[in-house]
Each structure stands twice: as structure tokens, then as C-alpha cells.
């Protein structure tokens, strides 16, 4: 078993070795690592992320995609985009990764109690939302209606598809999927995810929206909810992304106006950051 020799000066930049229990290919470029914390002990809240380190290659911020309460292992869903994520994609069961965290402000699961939950994901943005969906299902009585809307590029890009279909069969939550472009075998909805909003019943005056996807998708979704449904920006939550190096507010890379995305976010209410989306180069 790996031992971590306690350095004379512990720095928050030192990763802890986690053993890879399994690697699951999700989509052509996306995979999920199942990780074992060294002492079986790792607590986090839905929406938080970790810094995942590929030995000697580098480190990337990755959101946690597992339930915060159900399993002893940690799931991190990763898309192969650069050197580090490609290196992580070659890991096998029994290998090790380094983990720092969890970091960041979680989804407002407590604040949303007693309200409708509108969970809207785009592409791989479903991964950071999944712990929130699990939380809502595990604490179903805490919320009124629970709605999951998911949009992705093509039917081949549907993340966690088996699970989405299973949620779709449930009567206590509503799950709808749409794709931007379909092929002949697709019988579902086609179009951007905002077009699904009108197809579900919810009470905009008592709803909290959790939105995660590309920046443009989050902006358009937030605007649709505000303009079309008079939702307040304070009730709409988005997660921001920047190329953060530390996760603890000292490297400066993730500054977005006054905010450090790693410590002030990555979850923000739209009234905190919405105005910054309009300025080029923030």
C-alpha cells in the first residue's frame, strides 16, 4: 500500500495517491475513473471538483460525478482533450492517480429544499450534475418537482445513457433528452436543450435551476429562464471553468472579475457572474 511520507512542510499542492479500481469507457473520448481513497474516507458535496494528477505528466481540475453518500469510491468523468487527460485515459485498474481536494462551492442543494429542481446539462456538463441528481433522488422528499433536461450533439454523444433512460422510466422525476443532430435511428427530440424547457411542468416562481455545459449554452439557458419564465438570476446556478493550476486560490489563473472560480465557485448564481459573460476577454 502506498504510504505518504509527511513532508516537513505540508503544502496544499501535494497530491494524495488514490488507487484506480476501474476504468469505464463512456463515449468515444470520455471515460470514468473509479478511485479508492487511501483510508476509504473521502467526503465531498455535489458540484465539487478535485485536481487529478497523472504521475509526472500534470494535473487537471475534474468535477466529481459520483454520489456524495452512496459509494466509498470516487467517480471522475474525464474527456480526452490534452496531455494529462490522455495520460489519465491510459490508466488501468490497480494504477494510481494523485488527488487534491475536494475544492469549490457545491450546488445549492440545501438552499433549494422545498423548491422545484430544474437540472439542465449540455454534453459532458452532465457529469458535475450527476451528484446533484443522485442527491435529489436520495432525498426526494426535500424537493418538489425534479426535472432533468439533457442536450448533446448526436445520439452517440449521450453521456450516462443507460442511466438517463432509467431515470426516464421513473415517475418521481422527469428526464428529457435532445440532440443537436440526429440520424435515422433517433426517435427523440432534436434541437437545443432550451427547447425542452417548455415541455416540462415546473413552477418558475419556486424553482432552482442547476445548469452546466458550454459557456454559450449556460448563457442562453439562463437568458431563456429569465426572459421566458421570469426566473430570477439568483435562482439560476451555473458552473464556470478556467484552466486552474492550484484549486486553492493562489495561482491566479481562474480569475473571472473579482471571483476566483476555484474557491468562490465553480458554482455561481447567475446574478454573480452573468454580467461578465457580455465582456470580451474577462
Amino acid at each position: 500500500m502506498a504510504t505518504l511520507i509527511e513532508p516537513a512542510v505540508i503544502d496544499q499542492m501535494t497530491p494524495i495517491p488514490f488507487k484506480v479500481r476501474s476504468v469505464r469507457e463512456e463515449l468515444s473520448h470520455t471515460f470514468t475513473l473509479e478511485l479508492e481513497p487511501p483510508n476509504g474516507d473521502f467526503t465531498f458535496e455535489p458540484g465539487q471538483f478535485t485536481m487529478v494528477y497523472a504521475f509526472g505528466i500534470g494535473e487537471v481540475p475534474i468535477s466529481i460525478s459520483s454520489s456524495a453518500t452512496r459509494e466509498a469510491t470516487l467517480l471522475q468523468t474525464i474527456r480526452r482533450t490534452g496531455a494529462v487527460t490522455h495520460a489519465l485515459g491510459t490508466l488501468k485498474s490497480g494504477d494510481y492517480v494523485g488527488i487534491r481536494g475536494p475544492y469549490g462551492r457545491p450546488w445549492p442543494m440545501k438552499e433549494a429544499k422545498g423548491r422545484d429542481l430544474l437540472i439542465i446539462g449540455g454534453g459532458i456538463g452532465l457529469a458535475p450534475l450527476r451528484p446533484a441528481i443522485y442527491h435529489a433522488m436520495e432525498n426526494r422528499d426535500d424537493y418538489e418537482r425534479v426535472v432533468v433536461l439533457y442536450g448533446t450533439r448526436t445520439p452517440d454523444d449521450i453521456l450516462f445513457e443507460t442511466e438517463l433512460r432509467r431515470w426516464g422510466d421513473r415517475t418521481d422525476i422527469t428526464t428529457l433528452i435532445t440532440v443537436d443532430a440526429a440520424d435515422r435511428g433517433w426517435y427523440g427530440a432534436v434541437g437545443v436543450v432550451t427547447r425542452l424547457i417548455g415541455r416540462v411542468g415546473f413552477d418558475p416562481s419556486n424553482a432552482t435551476a442547476l445548469v452546466c455545459g458550454p459557456e454559450i449554452m449556460m448563457t442562453v439557458t439562463a437568458e431563456r429562464l429569465m426572459e421566458g419564465y421570469s426566473m430570477k438570476p439568483q435562482s439560476i446556478y451555473v458552473t464556470m471553468e478556467r484552466n486552474m493550476k492550484c484549486g486553492i486560490g493562489v495561482c491566479g489563473h481562474c480569475q473571472f472579475g473579482s471571483k476566483f472560480i476555484c474557491t468562490d465557485g465553480a458554482v455561481f448564481s447567475f446574478d454573480e457572474v452573468g454580467h461578465l459573460f457580455d465582456i470580451k476577454g474577462v
Binding site: A8, V9, M13, N243
Partner: protein, 383 residues
């Protein structure tokens, strides 16, 4: 006020000796290769006696003063952050095996005495203490925190501000305002070089008590000290109007002035390297050829580089104007939201060492003159 002592230049030498004898690596100003740098000093003879520095936007020259002053200069390009937060720091190194990886023990933090720290630089260390503060019991910058805690600070008050100084605007000088162990003021009294020395901490008082041949200052010497400092405060090379400045900058994100700065700014990052409070950094991971030894190094980074904001194959701050706006808005506006103070101490280095002489005080004033907050273009602030 703690007890005030006075001595000649020999007393300064004895102070350096006392700090070295108590196990410190004493770092102070020295002239090397026609530049003023901070490096290890053994005695008073290493100090830049008789030198001064002339500073203007984009210009720095050392000149002989023709007198015996030890501290007749302002500041060189490099600040003390090079010792507390070096340009490259090994964060950890480790070895991988089939059982995972093990990190090596961290080295012992060095025990420094910083000799000749200007009041603005003492303030800058305090600014970085806040940035690197611990919020969960573990310091975010462990080695920096450990080094800082055992660093002995000998501040030297400024009686001759430089052409790019504006510490009075930032309320950080010309007299040191706390955060030091010993403070020195250099005065010329009746043609003699005199050094008024006071303790600012228990450790400082203890060092001074152990020193022989320190005298009690005369009334006239105390008066000369106070009048020199008052004169310095009235002779700042520059001023920065900080009234409403954070809101002004945040509300002018779309000001065309940023485009005009972009035409001059080379995005060379000099300003961020010489700034005593700029803290942005990146990490570099390295692996030995056999794949068993890994090292993670923290390196200074700059918001002026294109790579700084790189994500998903493109930079978020593509234009130089957006990068300068990020830098000055962070220094003087969003830093206040983040840390309840400004990230500028008025040392003037960014003005001096800018190859094209872009002046932070001048640019802030230009935005103030062309304030667009009450126009349609000003709608939607930066923060």
C-alpha cells in the same frame, strides 16, 4: 513607540554581524553589474554606499551620489518575493512504484534576515501574507509561510523617494507602518551619517538590547528624522488618486483606452515580474527518463502571456488590451473585493521597468478623465 537608538555606520555593521551570528542568512542591497540587487551580505562594506538610482518611466540608472549614504537609493528591479516565493520552487518530488507513489520530505525552510527592506516592500509582504493565508489550517503555500514566519525584517525608511514612487497615495510609506523587527532611518546631522534605530517586535528589541555602543538620540537628531520623513512624504514622484478607484475601473471594462494601451504595451510581463505583490504562478510537472521520479515545480506566471488564460485550445484573453485591463483592474479594483485591500503598494517598479514606460498612475488617471460609467457603453461592470 519603542525605544529609539542612534549610531554611526559602524553600528549598522554590528547589526548585520549580530543577525548573522544568530543564525540568519542576511540578505541586503548590493551593487552588482551596474544594478542594485538583493543578495547575501557580510557587513556594512557590502551595502551600496554612495550610490543612488534615477528612475523614470522605462528608465533606471545607477549613479554615484558623492556622499557616504548607505541607503541613498530607492529600489532595484527585484523585490523580496524572490526569496519568500522564489521564481521556481519545487513543490514536491516523489517516486512511483507498483504500490503507488511516495513524496520526498520537504527541505527545511531557510532562515533569512532581510536587511534594508523599504516600507512599500514590507507592506507588499503583508499583502502576500493575506493572499497566501490559510483557510483550512494548512497554509496554501507551505514553504513560503514557514520561511516568512522565521524571517527577520530590518526596514529602512525612505527619506529620498524616487521619480516613480507613490507610497503616500497607497499609505505604505515613506515611514514603515508595522510588520518589521527593526526600522532604520538614515539622516545627515551636522555633516555626520547618523542611523536612528528602533525595534518593532520582541525579536527586534532583543537584538538591539544585545548590541553595544548604541547611543541615545538627541532631540535634534529625532527632529531631523521626523523632518526628513515629512519632506519625503511631500516629494513623491507620482500620485495615484484612489478615491472611488475600484468602482471606476470595474465600471470601465469597455473603455476604448484599453485599446490605446494595447498599441503601446508589449505584453512582455516585466511589470508582473518586478511587482512585489504579483503572485500568479503556474506548475510544471517533470518526469525522469525512466518514469519513476516526478517533480512538481511552481513557477512565476504572468497574466500578460497568451498562455495564461489558455483553455480548450484557445486563450480567453486574446487581446493585449484585455490583459492590461485584467492586470490593472486586479491590482487596484478586484483585489479589494478579494482581499479587502489594494494589490499595489506604490513602489513604482512597474513604471520603471516597463520597456515603453507605461505608467499605472497615468493610465488610472486617463480612465478617470474618460469615465464611461454614466454612458450606455459603461453598462455592465467588470466585477
Amino acid at each position: 513607540m519603542s525605544e529609539m537608538y542612534v549610531s554611526g555606520q559602524s553600528g549598522i555593521g554590528r547589526l548585520i554581524q549580530a543577525l548573522a551570528e544568530s543564525g540568519h542568512r542576511v540578505i541586503g542591497p548590493v551593487v552588482r553589474n551596474e544594478a542594485l540587487v538583493y543578495d547575501e551580505i557580510d557587513g556594512v562594506e557590502d551595502l551600496p554606499k554612495g550610490w543612488t538610482d534615477l528612475q523614470e518611466p522605462g528608465r533606471y540608472r545607477l549613479e554615484q551620489r558623492g556622499d557616504e549614504k548607505l541607503f541613498g537609493y530607492v529600489v532595484g528591479s527585484a523585490s523580496w518575493k524572490q526569496f519568500l516565493n522564489p521564481p521556481e520552487t519545487v513543490l514536491w518530488s516523489g517516486t512511483v512504484s507498483p504500490d503507488g507513489f511516495m513524496t520526498d520530505p520537504a527541505p527545511e525552510p531557510p532562515k533569512y534576515a532581510f536587511f534594508g527592506v523599504r516600507p512599500c516592500e514590507v507592506a507588499a509582504m503583508g499583502v502576500l501574507d493575506t493572499v497566501y493565508g490559510s483557510d483550512n489550517g494548512t497554509p496554501s503555500m507551505g514553504m513560503r509561510t514557514a520561511t516568512r514566519e522565521q524571517t527577520f525584517i530590518v526596514a529602512v525608511n525612505c527619506v529620498e523617494p524616487g521619480g516613480n514612487c507613490f507610497c503616500v497615495s497607497m499609505d505604505t510609506g515613506p515611514a514603515v507602518k508595522g510588520g518589521y523587527d527593526i526600522a532604520i532611518t538614515e539622516i545627515v546631522h551636522n555633516g555626520n551619517m547618523r542611523y536612528l534605530i528602533e525595534g518593532g517586535s520582541k525579536a527586534g528589541a532583543k537584538v538591539l538590547e544585545g548590541m553595544v555602543n548604541l547611543e541615545e538620540p538627541t532631540e535634534a537628531e529625532l527632529e531631523a528624522r521626523d523632518s526628513s520623513l515629512a519632506e519625503a512624504a511631500a516629494n513623491m514622484g507620482r500620485t495615484l488618486d484612489i478615491e472611488d478607484l475600484p468602482e471606476l475601473l470595474k465600471g470601465n471594462a469597455r473603455n476604448p483606452r484599453w485599446d490605446s494601451i494595447a498599441e503601446r504595451c508589449l505584453a512582455c510581463a516585466n511589470c508582473t515580474m518586478v511587482c512585489p505583490t504579483c503572485f500568479c504562478n503556474t506548475v510544471d510537472d517533470n518526469l525522469s527518463l525512466d518514469g519513476t521520479q516526478a517533480t512538481r515545480t511552481r513557477k512565476w506566471d504572468s497574466c500578460f502571456t497568451l498562455g495564461f488564460s489558455y483553455m480548450h485550445g484557445r486563450p480567453m484573453r486574446e487581446g493585449v488590451g484585455a490583459r492590461y485591463r485584467q492586470w490593472i483592474t486586479h491590482k487596484l479594483a478586484t483585489w479589494v473585493d478579494q482581499f479587502d485591500e489594494m494589490g499595489c503598494v506604490g513602489c513604482g517598479r512597474c513604471i520603471t521597468w516597463c520597456p515603453v514606460g507605461i505608467d499605472i498612475t497615468h493610465e488610472a488617471a486617463a480612465i478617470r478623465r474618460a469615465d464611461l460609467r454614466d454612458t450606455p457603453i459603461g453598462i455592465g461592470g467588470f466585477a
